[in-house]
Subunit: 322 residues, 2 copies
């Protein structure tokens, strides 16, 4: 757990506190759902959203961290949307573990997600009364949902534009990372300029993060480990594919006639084409560009230890190997 | 729409304002979901929750109504839970209209419900900042969900107790009516005693309302109009059945061996038995008792026109014909 933070003992310790808050708050009468939610919550990934909140909050506050309940609220909102997304995507596994819906059925997964939303809401009310961030959270939730819906509306749309793709990922991924950074800066007591800067850093990190993730879906190194090109077969056309389509519409269109029916050799062929035509590299340079924007904004934040860590984390998170 | 309020022009007008707020706020980018949500929201039933809020608020405030956005928030929370419940129940129709999930699929219904939660949350933040009611709403949401989950856990449990049934309906139905009355009293500026009284009135109305609803499910008058005993065949064992089971366990248990497989003649037989053994009447007297508790509490509210209307409404809502 939190392996990503192994070299940062202090962050490990803080994220454990956040995890404990989540565990304590996720008490629900129904024992089966309680277990499923806890299992899911404890199988957390990198806890990127709480960590960004904590790091940004330490930029102010004389290096002290902001309220860990706010950090927990961010991860809970993330978890609730993941559980509901898995229902929509009919996903069986997430982070190599069975999804809540695979364990308990779609029906219970609906309630499990709803329950996490109420805990999230409870934490906001406790920690943010009297600040503009209650309203900001409501607006963020809307934007995240609209992003998910945009992605859903674009499924199997072979004429999906790159702008539409960016709009979808701005909602479904970047918004919450953006909120995490902004809340950290605000509750850390940074000035307005830096709060705005934090928001922008989060957005750029989020967009880059999602593009890299989408690039990874085209990576042939994964062929043996997991199904290849799962996005394409589900009708989700991401940046590398859209760039390839714009370069060579005739080649790509024949793959997209019925993407669900593509055989493994055809998928490998498509992945190789997306790479050989340069689309994968173009997508990677788009993500690198966004990462560099984030890094150059981070360089303008108050000169503290947290800024140093933020730079390292951004590099580690986004400059992954392909 | 709002036919229930036909004799009360003022309430009709106020509920139209509430409906307009809901319509305006339920703007979502996705046109298909927008239509489905609006259609569902406009097919609203009696708008009992907003109406109770408005009536209680008029007891204070020199007869002025409380903020219609709060009234809207109550109906939106109700709608969101209905949409998600219909997913769980696999329901095709609600209020004789196709459910959101029947129209757009389970997947979209998950998002549609989530979206309504965000609008609900947004309205709370706008209207209740600085009051204890943000936290109260979070607690209510939890209780409602726990009630739904209790009901789900009790499905097909032939040893379900009457106390467990009451606990389930206290959450899934009574809590929101209770919140509506309490918020009305609080935002209408009533004193603490009356706010507590309002809460209790709402709870009693809610419990009575649900018991009557469950009694109606056993009414043979509905045989020609809609499927009979839909609760029993879904494994939901409500008060009339539980009373009958306690009276004549041997008779009832044979029907509950595989309730999904009961034929129409067997269902009619079961309904007749529940009636002839006196269980239906006992359930009705339980509901009447709760109604009378509500009415006697209403009689202690400030002596105003709204109190008169509240008495009439409670009678009309709860003393339905069987």
């Amino acid at each position: 757990m939190f392996d990503f933070w192994m070299e940062n003992r202090d962050m490990m310790r803080q994220l454990e506190t956040v995890q404990n808050i989540m565990d304590t708050r996720l008490e629900i009468d129904d024992p089966e759902i309680r277990e499923a939610i806890k299992h899911f919550a404890e199988n957390g990934g990198k806890m990127v959203r709480p960590a960004l909140f904590l790091l940004f909050s330490q930029l102010g506050n004389a290096g002290q961290s902001g309220d860990p309940r706010i950090a927990a609220s961010l991860e809970l909102l993330h978890l609730a949307t993941l559980i509901h997304d898995d229902i929509i995507d009919d996903a069986d596994t997430r982070r190599k573990q069975p999804t809540v819906q695979a364990q308990l059925g779609k029906d219970t997964a609906v309630y499990a997600g709803d329950f996490i939303y109420t805990v999230y809401f409870e934490l906001l009310v406790e920690t943010m009364a009297g600040t503009p961030f209650l309203a900001r959270n409501a607006a963020s939730m809307k934007k995240i949902l609209n992003g998910e819906l945009t992605q859903k509306a674009l499924m199997y749309q072979t004429d999906c534009t790159r702008e539409q793709y960016m709009q979808a990922i701005a909602g479904k991924t970047a918004e919450l990372l953006s909120l995490a950074c902004e809340e950290g800066a605000y509750f850390g007591g940074l000035d307005e300029e830096n709060v705005l800067r934090a928001r922008q850093i989060g957005e750029h990190i989020g967009l880059a993060f999602q593009i890299y993730d989408d690039v990874l879906n085209f990576s042939l190194d994964f062929v043996n480990e997991k199904p290849i090109l799962t996005d394409v077969t589900q009708g989700i056309y991401t940046l590398p594919l859209l760039i390839a389509r714009d370069k060579e519409p005739a080649v790509i269109s024949k793959y997209l006639e019925s993407p669900q029916a593509l055989t493994k050799p055809e998928l490998i062929e498509l992945a190789e084409f997306v790479k050989s035509c340069g689309a994968l590299d173009e997508a990677i340079s788009e993500a690198t560009h966004l990462t560099n924007l984030a890094l150059s904004d981070i360089a303008h934040l108050p000169d503290t230890t947290s800024r140093k860590i933020l730079t390292e984390v951004t590099n580690k998170l986004l400059k992954r190997q392909f």
